[in-house]
Subunit: 195 residues, 2 copies
């Protein structure tokens, strides 16, 4: 067995989310045995990202520029501001091709059990951003998990207190679903919000 | 969305075994949002391991020295040589505390479908190692998967042709098992190899 460097690598890999000691070992062995180029490339990519990727001043998503390309895009409708939990959610909405307004990325969601409160997810920056006089509608697109719903609830109250118009993504039956396999809570919402 | 560095990091993370695009995104976002120290530490650990970890000249396991500590240990019985597929398997046997001989780590197993033949898993170095005049017994401890069995079969033939004594780990019922839940093939082996 090796001493030091290999154990250090396994420890460092374990800090990745979803990686336990077995996966970290497998990753370390794989990189050292079959993909040393990949290991070097990953090291450089990590260092480059840590030193270059910051947060967009306006929407808080990851960006190398002070203000991200989306926020600077003059083609987008600055009257709509859509609030998501993460850049991944933002990317999913962009792929849907059905939204042309601007974004605000919370970079988290309320989770009192994990000690994540309103300050940690940038509620005040959102209120400032939404009060720029241009934004007319704030669309809350946090997840429909318990934490996502709680986050939307807190944000809606704070935004409405500032006199802003707030909407929430529709709940309902997913496209392509058979009704008999849809959970009861979703069916109840779909029935209530029928149109 | 960011441009460049973030995508580069996600691409580099995808080269890790078992990591798809969703996990790579989650890892990248997690590191940049919550654990930049961890990202820097991982980068250094990767570079350090790539430049310091090589293979032991005698047993082929990962080692920072030319010959690993296990091979140099005078307390170990040099008459026994146990052949495993990977350092993880070696570590598992060490934890069992029931083996005091030396090791040879194949760093792989025969897998013709993946183009991995005898040369790729160091059959010749193993034959040279086992023919040092000191080794009296070669214990084949490759896995009991189809590839592991095939590897053991090929190695046994080559080692016996050199007049070496070859044994294989016992197959049988795992400790703590209820017989009714043990698969039929294992039961058949356990019955055949009864003692």
């Amino acid at each position: 067995m090796s001493e030091g460097s290999l154990e250090g690598l396994i420890d460092a890999l374990r800090r990745l989310p979803g990686v336990g000691v077995k996966s970290a070992q497998r990753m370390a062995y794989h990189l050292l045995q079959h993909d040393r180029t990949g290991a070097e490339r990953l090291a450089l990519a990590l260092q480059h990202a840590v030193s270059h990727v910051h947060h967009c001043e306006r929407c808080h998503t990851f960006s190398e520029a002070r203000v991200c390309a989306t926020c600077l895009d003059p083609q987008r409708d600055a009257r709509q501001l859509l609030v998501v939990e993460s850049p991944a959610d933002q990317a999913a909405l962009e792929r849907s091709g059905s939204y042309r307004g601007l974004y605000f990325v919370l970079m988290g969601r309320l989770s009192p059990l994990d000690g994540i409160g309103p300050a940690d997810i940038g509620v005040h920056p959102l209120l400032d951003r939404a009060s720029d006089g241009v934004v007319q509608e704030v669309i809350l697109a946090t997840g429909f998990s318990a934490e996502g719903e709680a986050t939307a609830h807190v944000l809606a109250a704070a935004l409405k207190a500032r006199g802003l118009s707030v909407t929430r993504l529709a709940r309902g039956v997913p496209v392509g679903s058979e009704l008999e396999y849809v959970d009861l809570s979703t069916l109840a919402h779909a029935l209530h919000d029928r149109r």
